[in-house]
């Protein structure tokens, strides 16, 4: 028995030593590879089938657009875009654009990229059956036609200043010579879906389920060969696991270091990592439901009163919340304007944190603590509100806990409901909530405000779920979109939103991206983080 024990422990020690040493072959590969940590697996990175940022990140390297947004992210006008598949474009009239494709553009199987591919893909995107959420973004496009192999003519149903943006940005062309042979119902399970053939600077390598996706550089790419030979998207669903990957050198790049703020110190302490800060298009807010959860035709019994909404805004220390989560990397916005938005500079300061003012407003609205239980009441009804939070978001959970404690001081009872994403979304779309913490990714254009804050968007799933409707801002926004001098109009819109308090706007963050220092010439476009990887280089 003793002998066996000795043999066993000896073997265990040997095995242990062997296991604790990294595999040497991997080191050579590391020098030529960029490993990006990601939270979502790219199981189906096919434009028009995409859901989720994990798929989009990979698709952005496989599939080019006609042109991409320029460095200043201007969405209006015909210029300021960077050519990709289209080498040039010109305007025929106020509703017609002509794009000339780069004759050297090739699919990864060697076939040239033709106008037929563009027409085919717009057809998919505009068909509600196949386009899914792409369809509404290209709703103003009336027709797309091919002229020969190299020219595409796009006509619009109206004249407006974001026509080029709509024509080039939303739709990434697919290879029609492969796809026309595959019935749509079989596309997701086809060989094309598991081995996509694109036209971007990287070609598909392999996917190892639940672990990573590997892409290889297209060495003879028509826009110039990428200098990084391989890009690996490595999946870890837990944010902590992703950070660990970065800190142990198992990943080279990670998007979204903060929150939690504590991560910043850990990453900064690692001399091998460089931090890049980028403004993004996200705004986080505490949304008030203005319609009754039981009957959408009626105003909300508590939050329908603008005084109560304003009291809640004053009663929440948005600065402390934002600072505790993001440190200096977020600001308290005045309205639904992210850091990327140019109209951000027009707005005044956000309403101050002022519990005294909040108490006055609540009193005005008739809320008093008549039974001495510390919670205000009116007509026998306590001032109690539920707060919906998606279970997957640790930061929103923390914000909820802070707001709960702060509003308790005012005599407002907040019940937190931590919900799984599907329930959260279902409740929100059915209007069955009092308050929720939302984090919205806004469109790059200010007109994106219309999607979630106009009367027309009330009742649209995932849009204006709080039921906020102000005819005044609707008409102001309408004017702003056609006016040559829109700034004062947008300023008025923001002031009206501030006064109506449809939400307590909490944070407009920057994002922090950590990248290993051996990567050089790193540029990060704010909207599609990794799309310019092909232009990075690696120090030897």
């Amino acid at each position: 028995m003793l002998r066996l024990t000795r043999v066993a422990s000896g073997a265990a020690m040997l095995l242990g030593t062997a296991l604790c040493h990294a595999v040497p072959d991997a080191a050579a590969q590391r020098a030529e590879t960029l490993v990006i940590a990601t939270g979502q697996e790219a199981a189906l990175p096919i434009p028009t089938l995409i859901s989720g940022s994990g798929n989009q990140d990979v698709a952005d390297l496989l599939f080019l657009r006609l042109a991409s947004l320029g460095p200043d992210l201007r969405t209006a006008g015909d210029l300021g875009f960077t050519p990709e598949l289209a080498s040039s474009w010109h305007r025929r009239d106020s509703v017609t654009l002509v794009f000339d494709l780069n004759p050297r553009a090739r699919w990864h199987d060697g076939h040239p990229v033709t106008a037929r591919d563009v027409v085919y893909t717009f057809g998919r995107a505009r068909d509600p059956k196949t386009g899914g959420k792409l369809a509404p973004t290209v709703r103003h496009i009336a027709s797309v036609a091919a002229v020969g192999d190299g020219r595409v003519v796009v006509t619009f149903d109206r004249a407006y200043n974001e026509q080029v943006y709509d024509a080039v940005f939303h739709v990434q062309p697919l290879p029609s010579h492969i796809l026309t042979a595959i019935p749509d119902s079989l596309l997701a399970t086809s060989g094309f879906a598991s081995q996509p053939i694109g036209n971007g600077p990287y070609r598909w390598g392999r996917r190892v389920a639940g672990q990573f996706v590997e892409l290889h550089a297209v060495t003879d790419h028509f826009l110039g060969p990428p200098r990084i030979r391989r890009v690996v998207f490595r999946v870890a669903e837990s944010p902590d696991a992703r950070l660990n990957m970065l800190l142990t050198g198992e990943a080279d790049a990670l998007y979204g270091i903060v929150p939690p703020l504590a991560n910043l110190g850990r990453v900064a302490a690692n001399a091998q990592l460089r931090l890049i800060t980028v403004p993004i298009n996200t705004v986080g807010y505490l949304l008030f439901n203005q319609r009754s959860p039981d009957n959408r035709g009626r105003p909300h019994p508590i939050l329908g009163d603008v005084r109560v909404r304003r009291a809640l805004v004053h009663g929440i220390d948005r600065r402390a919340i934002t600072r505790s989560l993001f440190g200096d990397y977020a600001e308290v916005p005045v309205g639904p304007v992210p850091q990327l938005s140019w109209i951000r500079s027009l707005a005044g300061p956000p309403p101050p944190y002022d519990p005294a003012q909040a108490r006055v407003l609540l009193k005005e609205a008739g809320w008093r603590d008549t039974d001495g239980d510390g919670i205000l009441d009116r007509g026998g009804r306590p001032l109690a509100l539920t707060l919906n939070i998606p279970a997957t978001s640790a930061p929103r959970r923390q914000m909820g806990l802070q707001m709960q404690a702060q509003l308790r001081q005012l005599g407002v009872r907040v019940e937190m409901a931590v919900l799984s994403i599907p329930v959260f979304v279902e409740r929100r779309n059915a209007g069955q909530f009092d308050m929720e913490i939302a984090a919205a990714r806004m469109d790059p254009t200010p007109s994106g405000i219309r999607n979630s804050w106009s009367c027309a968007s009330v009742g649209v799933p995932n849009a204006n779920v709080g039921g906020y409707c102000s005819p005044r801002i609707d008409s102001l926004m309408g004017l702003a979109l056609s006016s040559p001098e829109p700034a004062p109009l947008w300023k008025a819109v923001l002031e009206q939103i501030r006064a109506d308090a449809p939400a307590a706007f909490l944070y407009a963050p920057m994002t922090i991206i950590a990248i290993d220092r051996r990567f050089r010439e790193v540029a990060i476009p704010p909207l599609s983080t990794w799309s310019t990887v092909a232009q990075w280089s690696i120090a030897r």
């Binding site: 837990s238 504590a262 959970r397 923390q398 806990l401 404690a405 937190m416 919900l419």
Partner: protein, 280 residues
């Protein structure tokens, strides 16, 4: 009930059982009296300056990322965890014993149907079962959560009791009681039920440890006890992202779970020994 007293005597006499009882008593006392001496477990005194403080005077186990006192939360969590576990297990044992008694004693198609359903339910892993059911409520009240833990834990007990009843039915004294015309409920409650107490008690004590772990796991997945009520699993979930910066806020709740479950299982072991002395 003599049987139970006898088992308890045995537990007190065995060293492991005694250790378990001592730890458990200490935890219960701390949970009951501790909150009187400790800060409010929900208070967030200084979110910007007082978060993630290391253990020291003032905060013996440090503070979490919302500047709440970890010791106060761990102690307060003991109260929640133990209450949830004891009530849930009491519920599942009662249900299991009832179904087992009926199935075993009545027999026939009642038995067949009950046992098929129990088998089917047993085949679905309890964690899956709970995750599926928890989703039915968008925001589960504590009472409902306890009921849920109780109603998903009785399947095994019912099989156990049924087996015991089937065995007892062939015992001469039960057959004698029936032959003498004792009424059904008298046989059930005076003869069968007390004699199943041993195995049921074993299942109950081990069940408590199990439920504590399960509750912690569900709270860790964010579907258990609702914040801000402190629960150990929820504390670990919330502290997960600052594990490296403030390890104390997840290490201590974890230790509390281990200590409690260990204590309960030590007691459970001693109970088992008392019930089944051959394998002591």
């Amino acid at each position: 009930m003599n049987r139970v007293a006898e088992i308890l005597r045995h537990v007190r006499r065995s060293p492991e059982g005694r250790l378990g009882l001592i730890i458990l008593t200490a935890i219960i006392l701390a949970g009951a009296a501790g909150p009187l001496f400790l800060p409010d477990p929900l208070a967030q005194p200084d979110i910007l300056g007082g978060a993630n403080l290391a253990p020291g005077t003032g905060h013996w186990l440090g503070t979490d990322q919302l500047s709440r006192d970890v010791l106060a939360r761990v102690v307060s969590g003991a109260r929640i965890s133990l209450t949830v576990a004891f009530i849930a297990v009491a519920l599942s044992i009662t249900l299991g014993a009832a179904v087992g008694l009926v199935a075993g004693y009545v027999g026939g198609w009642v038995d067949v149907i009950l046992m098929r359903v129990v088998d089917g339910a047993l085949a679905i892993p309890r964690l899956f079962l709970l995750l599926l059911i928890v989703a039915v409520w968008e925001a589960l009240p504590l009472a409902a959560f306890i009921v849920l833990l109780g109603t998903t834990g009785w399947f095994g007990t019912s099989r156990l009791v049924r087996g015991e009843v089937l065995r007892l039915k062939t015992e001469p004294y039960i057959q004698a009681a029936e032959a003498l015309g004792a009424r059904r409920h008298r046989v059930l409650f005076h003869h069968l039920l007390p004699n199943t107490a041993g195995p049921v008690l074993v299942a109950a004590t081990l069940g408590v440890g199990n439920v504590i772990l399960l509750e912690a796991g569900l709270s860790f997945l964010g579907v258990g006890i609702r914040p801000p009520t402190p629960s150990w699993g929820g504390m670990i979930l919330e502290a997960q992202e600052v594990l490296f910066v403030a390890p104390w806020s997840s290490v201590f709740p974890g230790l509390a779970i281990v200590l409690t479950v260990l204590a309960v299982n030590l007691v459970g072991d001693a109970v088992r020994e008392a019930v089944d002395p051959q394998h002591a």
